[in-house]
Structures are given as C-alpha cells and as structure tokens.
C-alpha cells in the first residue's frame, strides 16, 4: 500500500514537474529560439554537461517515464542540496521531518541505483547519474541515525554494502565456474545456436552423470574397496584357476575378462555380508538403494528440466498472429560471427520468406494427393521392412554369439560380432532412412521429426532385441547355475568329507578360492555386455568423427589443389555437424548407462570419461573440420523433444532392470544379494533386523495389496483430476486468447473508422466524456492564454509538443506515459476541428493515446 502511495505521489510530482518544465520550455523557445538550450541547462543543472547530452536527456524525459523519475529525483536532489547545505549548519538538531525526507530520498536513490541497469540510457548518463546518486547516498546515509544509533546505523549500512558487493563477486565467480562456457560460446558464434544446443545438452548430461558417479562411487565402490574383504579372499573375488594364466593379457582385459571381471567394477565382486568394516556399513542394502536412487534421481532431473522448458515455452504463447513480423524482426541470429554461417543464414531467411509467402498465397494446394499418399505409404512400408530386418539381424547375431561363446578359441570377429553389427546398423540405417524419406516430400521440419522418430525406433528396436537375446542368455545361465550349484555343493561337501575321512585334525585345510567351481553369474555377464557395448560405441563414434569429418576435411582441403573438380563445392565437400544423430547417440548411450549401471557400477565412471573427452574432442572436430548447416534452424523448440526422448529411454531402461530385480533369482555365489531368493529381499531383511518391530508391522501393512491397490487408484484419480484441471485452464487460456484477438480486431476497426468517417460516433463520444472535457477545457484555455501573448498560434505549440513527444528517442515503456494529461484529453476535441491536418494529431505515427494493453492512460473510446 505504501508503495502504491509512493508511486502515485511520484507520478504527481512527475506530471507537475513535467508541466513546469514544459512551461519553461515554451518560454524559452518563445523568448529566444536558439539560446533555449542554454537557458534550460542554466535553469536545470548545477552540473553542466555538454549541450547535446542535455538535449538527449531532455528528449528521453519526454518519452520515458522512468527517465522522468530519474530526472525528478535529480531535481529533488538539487533542491535538497540547498536545503541540506542549510541543514549542515544546524546539524546538531535535525528535525524529524527533515530526517524522514532525507530517508526517503536515500531510499529513492537506492532504488534508482538498483534499477539503473534496466534503463535504456547512454552509458555516460548512467554513470553520471549513478555517481551522483551514490555520492548522495554515501553522504547522507550515515547522518540518518539519531544520537547513539548513528554509529550502529553506519556500521549496518557498511555491512550491507559489503554484503551486496560480496554477493556480486560471488555471482561473478559462479559464472566463471560454468564449465566450457567459452568453448560453447565459440562454437555458437560459428555454427549458430542449434549446434551449441547439442553441446549444452552434452554438458547437462555430464552434470547428471557426475552426480550418478558420485553416488555410486561414494556409496558402493569405495566402501567395498576400503572395508570389504580383499581380493583373493573368497571365490567370487578370485580369478578361477583355469583363467589365471591369461588373466593379465591385454586381449583378455580388453574384453573385460580376467582381472577386470573380478574387480569392484562389476556386480559379481560384491559380497553378501550384511555389514562390512568397523562402520557396520550395510553394503547390500546400500547397493540396492543406490541402484534405485540412480533411477530416481535421473527421473527427477529429467522431469524437472522438462517442466522448466515447458514453462518457458508456454510463457511466450504461440499465437500465430505475427508470423511475418517475427520472421522479419527476430530471425537474425546475432550470435553468428562467421561469414559462411551468415551466408547460410541469409539463404535460410530468404527461403523462409519465400516459403511463407507461397504458403500465404495458396495455403491449400494438394494436387495429385493420391500419388503423394501412395509414396508416403510406400516409404513407411520400406522403413518398417528395414526396421524388422535390422531387428532380426541383431537377434540372429546375438543367438549366434551364444554358440560362439561356448566354443573355445574363437576369433576377434566372432567375439565382437554383436557390437560390430549394431554399430554398422546405426551407421548405415539413418542415411538409408533419409533417402527413403525423400519420397515423402514432407516439410523439412516435419521431415526432421519423422527422421528422428525412425532412427529412435531403429535404435530402440535394436536395443530391445539385444535385451531379449540377453534375456535368453540369462535364462540359460540360470539353468546352468542350478547344475553348478549342486556341483559346488558336492565339491565342498566332498572336500570336507575327504578331510574328515582322513581322520586328521578337526579343521580341514581350506580349499583354495580359485579352485571352487562356480556358477556363471549372469549379472556380471550382463554388466560386461553393457560395458563392451558402451566402449565399442565410444570407439565407433570417435572413429567416425575422425574419418568422416577430419580426414575428409583434410582430403578436401589439400587435394583440392590438384583435382579435376572443385572438391569443396562439389561432391565430398565438408561434413556438416549432425545434430540429431549426435543427440540421439547421446540419449541412447545414456540409456545403456542406466540399464548397465546396476550390474556394472564402474560403467558410470567410463561414461563420465566418455562425456568429458567427447566434449573436447567434438568441440575440436566441429571447429576444425565441419561447416555450418545449410538450414540453420532454431534449437529452442526441439529441446524438449530431446528431453522427451531421454525420458522415454529412461523409462524403457527402467523396465528390464526392474524386471530382473523383482522376478529373477540372483546368482547363488556372486554379488551382494547372493543367497536370497529375490534381490529386493534385502529391504525386508533390513527392516526385520535393524528396525524396531512396529516398523516391520507398519511395513507389512503398507505392503498389503489391500492398501496398495486403493493407493494406486487414488493416484490415478488424482492424475485424472489434475489433467482435467489443466485442460480447463488450457481452454480458458485459448478463450482469453481469442478474446484478446477479437479486441485487437475491434481496436483496429475503431481506429480505422475514427480517422476516416463517422462524425456521429465522435459526437456521441464527446457526449460520453463531458466531465473530462470540462476539466480539460479551462486548462486548454489557460494554455492558449499563456501562449497567445507571445504570438504563438495553438497549432504551432501543439505541433511542438507533439514533436517533442514523437522524438526519435522513444523510451522503454512506449508512449503510455508520454503525453501530458491535458494534451491527451483535448485530443478528441481538436480532432473534429482540425480535420484537414491529420498529420499533426499523430506526427510520425506516434500514437498519443495509450497503447492498448500497455499503459493505464485514459481510454479514448
């Protein structure tokens, strides 16, 4: 409330002062044409800046309400400086009022300082105003406290200032800490914002993965390494006797067998001991919780950033009223600093202009719709065939690799066949799809979405085929495990019996852990599979970049001197940065990480390394050997699309992990959950053993299906309700939008009518605003009186006033507050009188009235 009052007061003073200054202006102008400026500056300022500066200030003042505020403050300040000079003489007894006034002024100054940066002033002016204000604040701030409180107040002020400064420094520091900001900006300036958005996405991914890495390393791997049983102490932590000879060979390690397989990087290494070390750290429990929270955290982050993006995108309502104007005024990407990019941008703007003109001219032109439909159906059939084929191929290869894995001494190709085939598919299918998509003749933006969707389907199909095959593998391993379990059991028993049978001492010599027969440990197998897939993916990506981009660029660049056609412009040319492919690659890689991290905790570490190197490597590759896109498209729109893909992948990778946790028995001799029927039993165990009884009771109640089903029902109902509410809001939004549009149309029509015809309506309107008219008339008369002695016709004054309003230095707030009240009100009156001079009412198209929806001036109709 206080603020409002303040504001109104300010406005009052503003308008008064404005009037005053206007009067002065008139006088000045009338009295002596040219020396008006000097006159004014003499009147107004103790500091004497250059003339043109003053003038520009003056102009701004006319246009800019905020400017006026500042000026008025300056003025007050000046008035004040006289009063304060008297004040300083009798400083011992400053009266309450003066203090209050001073306080108010100081507050105003402070406000001015804080809002300074939002004003479209010249830096020179900003600086001078800022300095003055600061000097003022510093001078009088200390004087405000009374008696004893003075020192304390000064101290408090000083601390506040320090705190502000510290905060600013801290902010500076924070922005300097954003990693790769400069690198990304550099890429952005060469390739536009769409390419940069990939790198920003990559950086975001890196952040998420760092958190996951911290979780897994801090809570699982490091405790196990520090406090768990050392390597070689038990079968699961020892390389079996048969493999020991080759366990350190590079070729074995490269396949993540040998010592790496029996290390803390994989599931199998962990012990099922309930607590480890002197901390009594519950490792199996921690392992389980970390596995769950990896998904939980990722889900939360992805959804949060999606919601934020959605908020941002709905904030700038997507009404299509201004297609052309937007294209015109906002299509240039000011970040482009490279002539080549600029050329491309020119071309793309031109094409978009032409496209939209054509669209406008004939919005619905569907000739030969049958042919197009046929082609589209054909293209989709072809692509589905491709997808099925690739799916089958992968299934076949995975099946074959299972037979290979049983055979001894298979070659390198046989061992890596799955990865090779998948990488090849990922490399060759997208271009194939693109070729087929040419049949469809979609609009490129829609085409890109289709393309993205198809590649996504391909990758997804491949991934799931791979998973199904892996599942088969796991089931086989489970069957095998049963057999091995018995063997192990009998071996151990036999060993025991034999030592007992010897009749020697009570404790038999322990069997060497390397000799114990052990199960296949399907979890580690799955983990190894994922790690190998990830590593081969990294290699393929890097090699593709190296060969497809760098070597190609080198070839094109240097062989061009002695080649029969122009390589740079002709066939091979330079590569473009493939945004969609790269983003999809990143998304799928992340899916792999999410799926694999439960069985191979070290996988996240590998991924962090990958993202780190790929940041530098790809930045370098882009800058050195790529050319900007031919169609530079805006990235902000598709951003949430990428996030949506990420969310989908996250959900899809959650499914298999959840399935294995909930319904497959863990291996009997490896991993933190060995010996349990299901992995989630570790929770029940913890609750039963570590919590008081009633917690277990509560838990058993909560886990009761009778409670879970209603809870799910409730959630569904809540979702339904929220959805309905959101829809209602949306509808209301659309309704409001429509209303606004209608109002705009109406306004347009009214304006049109006003200038052209309908004097009847104007008369009526004049009748409707008698009060304002009455108010305004005396003022106008006054104006005229004031002017007339100097021999100025009202036409000229008004012209001048209008010229001042229509100065080419318009302020940030538009014209809403510019016209002084009496001009505004008298306008309808003069309109009828001076119809022959329409230009003077609205000089240079500057509306004197309030702009619809922007100001709170008086409505004219």
């Amino acid at each position: 409330k206080d603020k409002e009052e303040d504001e109104s007061k300010e406005e009052d003073s503003c308008s008064q002062e404005n009037e005053a200054s206007r009067r002065k202006n008139y006088q000045g102008k009338n009295s002596g044409g040219k020396n008006a400026g000097e006159d004014r500056s003499r009147q107004r300022g103790k500091k004497a800046p250059t003339k043109d500066q003053k003038e520009s200030e003056n102009k701004e003042k006319k246009v800019n309400k905020k400017g006026k505020e500042g000026e008025s403050k300056q003025k007050k300040d000046r008035k004040n400086s006289t009063s304060t000079s008297s004040n300083s003489s009798d400083e011992e007894s400053p009266s309450e009022e003066e203090l209050a006034m001073l306080m108010e002024q100081v507050e105003q100054k402070k406000k001015l300082i804080s809002t300074m940066r939002n004003k479209p002033w010249r830096m020179v002016k900003k600086l001078s105003v800022l300095r003055e204000a600061q000097a003022f604040v510093e001078k009088f701030e200390g004087a405000l406290g009374k008696g004893k409180g003075k020192k304390l107040y000064a101290y408090k002020m000083m601390m506040a200032k320090k705190w502000v400064k510290f905060k600013r420094d801290f902010d500076n520091f924070k922005t300097q800490c954003i990693p790769w900001e400069m690198k990304i900006k550099e890429v952005e300036s060469h390739f536009g914002s769409s390419v940069a958005s990939y790198f920003i996405f990559l950086r975001w991914m890196y952040g998420v993965n760092l958190v996951l890495f911290g979780l897994i390393f801090g809570l699982v791997i490091i405790p196990e390494v520090l406090m768990g049983m050392p390597y070689g102490s038990m079968p699961r932590k020892t390389v079996p006797r048969a493999e020991q000879a080759t366990a350190m060979d590079f070729s074995v390690l490269w396949d993540f067998e040998g010592y790496i397989k029996y290390s803390a990087l994989f599931y199998g290494y962990y012990n099922n001991q309930r607590t480890i070390g002197w901390l009594k750290y519950r490792l199996p429990m921690a392992y389980f919780m970390v596995g769950v929270s990896v998904f939980g955290y990722s889900l939360m982050v992805v959804i949060r950033s999606m919601a934020r993006n959605a908020n941002e995108s709905t904030a700038d309502g997507d009404d299509d009223n201004f297609i052309f104007s937007w294209k015109m005024f906002t299509s240039w990407d000011y970040l482009i600093g490279n002539p080549e990019t600029a050329d491309n941008k020119f071309a793309s703007i031109t094409t978009s202009f032409k496209e939209s003109i054509v669209d406008e001219q004939e919005s619905n032109k569907d000739e030969n719709i049958h042919l197009r439909r046929f082609l589209r159906v054909l293209a989709n059939v072809l692509i589905i065939c491709c997808l099925c084929g690739s799916g089958y191929l992968i299934y076949f290869v995975v099946k074959r690799s299972q037979t290979f894995s049983k055979m001894q001494n298979v070659g390198w190709y046989e061992r890596n066949e799955v990865e090779i085939v998948m990488s090849l598919l990922g490399m060759f299918c997208p271009p194939l799809f693109e070729t087929i998509a040419a049949l469809e003749n979609y609009h490129p933006r829609i085409g890109l979405k289709w393309q993205l969707g198809r590649i996504f389907a391909l990758f997804l199909g491949n991934l799931y085929t791979f998973l199904l095959a892996l599942m088969d593998d796991v089931n086989e391993k489970l069957a095998e495990e049963d057999v091995v379990k018995n063997i192990t059991h009998w071996t151990l028993l036999g060993h025991h019996n034999s030592s007992m049978g010897n009749g020697s001492s009570a404790t038999p010599p322990p069997l060497d852990p390397a000799d114990v027969p052990r199960g296949p440990c399907w979890e580690t197998t799955v983990g190894i599979e994922f790690v190998r897939l990830t590593v081969s993916d990294i290699l393929v990506t890097y090699i593709t970049i190296l060969v497809g981009d760098f070597i190609r660029a080198c070839f094109v660049r240097f062989v061009n001197y002695c080649w029969c056609w122009d390589l740079e412009a002709g066939f091979p040319s330079y590569a473009e940065f493939d945004i969609s492919g790269n983003v999809l690659g990143l998304v799928f890689n992340q899916g792999m990480i999410w799926m694999g991290s439960f069985y191979a905790p070290g996988l996240v570490g590998i991924n962090v390394l990958r993202l780190l190197t790929s940041m530098y490597f790809q930045c370098w590759a882009v800058m050195s050997s790529n050319v900007p896109h031919e169609r530079v498209f805006k990235a902000s729109k598709s951003n949430n699309f990428y996030m949506g893909l990420l969310l989908l992948i996250l959900f899809l990778s959650l499914l298999p992990v959840a399935y294995t946790i909930m319904s497959l028995p863990p291996s009997f001799d490896c991993g933190p959950f060995s010996g349990k029927k299901r992995m989630y039993e570790v929770i029940q165990e913890t609750i039963e053993l570590d919590f008081p009884l009633f917690v277990a009771k509560i838990f058993s109640y909560v886990a009761n299906p009778g409670l879970i089903i209603p809870a799910i029902l409730l959630m569904v109902l809540a979702i339904y309700y929220l959805n309905a509410v959101a829809e209602a809001y949306q509808r209301a939004n659309a309704e409001l939008k429509k209303k606004m549009q209608m109002q705009r149309e109406e306004e347009k029509n009214k304006r049109n009518n006003k200038t052209s015809t309908n004097p009847m309506m104007q008369d009526l309107e004049d009748l409707f605003t008698p009060s304002t008219k009455n108010e305004s008339q005396p003022k106008q008369a006054e104006d005229k009186k004031r002017d007339s002695p100097h021999g100025n016709s009202p036409v000229r004054t008004q012209g001048k006033a209008a010229a001042l309003d229509g100065s080419p230095m318009p302020g940030g707030r538009g014209a809403a507050f510019t016209p002084p009240p009496h001009v505004l009100v008298t306008q309808p009156l003069t309109l009828g009188v001076r119809a022959p001079y329409p230009g003077q009412h609205r000089p240079r198209g500057h509306p004197l009235g309030p702009v619809p929806g922007r100001g709170r001036g008086q409505p004219r109709y």
């Binding site: 940066r117 009404d319 482009i336 002539p339 020119f346 202009f353 318009p810």
Partner: protein, 200 residues
C-alpha cells in the same frame, strides 16, 4: 579513471577495479556477461586501438572501420546501423568511445531485459532515424536480411507482398508505419526474441 594500470599486472589491458564495479552496476547486463565483459571488453576495446593509444583507452574513440573488424560484427548485416545507433560521436563518423562500446555489449548481452533489447532493435531497424518503421525501412530491412547475393533477393512483387503482410500484422493503428510501441508489442510475443541461450 584509467590510470595506474601499469601497477596492476603491468599490461594496459586491465580496467581499474572501481571503474569496473561502477560499470557493472550501470550496465544492464547480468554480472555474468559483464564480468567476462568488463575486463574482456576492456581488453578487446584496447585491442582495437593502435598501440600507442592503448594507454588511455578510456578517453579515445575508436573509428568505425576498426569497430567493424570485430568478429561479432563482421558478418552482421546491420553492422553499420549498430555502429550508428550506439555511437555518441558528435561529428557523425560513428566512432565509439569505451562507454559506447560497453553500451553495445550490455544491450547485446544475455541478460539485458527484452525492453532494452527491443528498444535498441527498433533503433537499429529504423534506417532513416525518424522514429517509425515505414515501407522504405522495411524494404531495407528485408534486403539486409536476404543478403547481397543476386539469387537470394526477393522479387519486387514478393517484397510488396511481404511488406503488406507485415504491416497488416503489426501496424495496429493503420498509419502505414510501425512505431516503437507496436514494434515492442509484436516482438515481445516472439518466442525467439532475446532468448538465444538454451537451457536444458
């Protein structure tokens, strides 16, 4: 203001701390840009100057031809307009002082408010400086955006159609020109305006 840099690191490309602080408060950009900016801007600014003048970069003006060598402006079709709008030079040679330079940077920074951005954008697009975008301005604007190449130019009928469409959309008061409030009205609704940075 620019004395005693020699003491701070010995190079002339260090802005005194107090000055930096002041600029930071006055400029409309976030500290972010400004920080990079304030020292970097100063450095870049002084790089534009010939060697012997670097000592007092705050008081000298950089001619337009040197400003245009900035990589950010080199490819920009509005380079001359930008120089013109941000220059406070009296004799109309579009030279820039350090403050003008900072003005320019802060207007183009990420965190300038869209009011400021649209304000300056309007002035950049207003080729004849008369406070309104008329048909001639729009035509020049389209020509700037479509580049120099002959094949990328729009034909006169296309141009006519385009300008007609634009005026239909944004010229609310139907006086044949677009003034600043109309301009801001249109531009503030644009999803792309003033939002080049993407957060994911």
């Amino acid at each position: 203001m620019c004395a005693a840099e020699a003491a701070m690191g010995g190079s002339a490309s260090v802005l005194p701390r107090e000055a930096l602080d002041e600029y930071q408060r006055a400029a409309s950009c976030h500290r972010a840009a400004l920080v990079l900016a304030s020292s970097r801007a100063y450095k870049r600014f002084s790089e534009l100057l010939p060697k012997e003048e670097r000592e007092n970069a705050c008081s000298t003006r950089v001619p337009k031809s040197r400003i245009l060598t900035l990589p950010e402006l080199r490819a920009n079709p509005f380079q001359h307009r930008i120089c013109h709008v941000f220059s406070t030079s009296d004799d109309g040679d579009d030279s820039m002082s350090f403050e003008d330079f900072l003005d320019m940077l802060s207007a183009f920074s990420d965190s300038a408010t869209s009011d400021i951005k649209s304000h300056y954008a309007f002035r950049i697009f207003d080729f004849d400086d008369d406070g309104a975008l008329d048909r001639k301005d729009l035509e020049k604007l389209v020509n700037c955006l479509t580049g120099q190449g002959e094949e990328s130019r729009l034909s006169s009928t296309e141009m006519e159609q385009l300008i007609q469409n634009i005026l239909e959309e944004s010229d609310i008061d139907k006086d044949g020109t677009i003034n600043i409030s109309e301009f801001q009205h249109v531009v503030s609704r644009s999803p792309d305006f003033a939002r080049y940075s993407v957060r994911s």
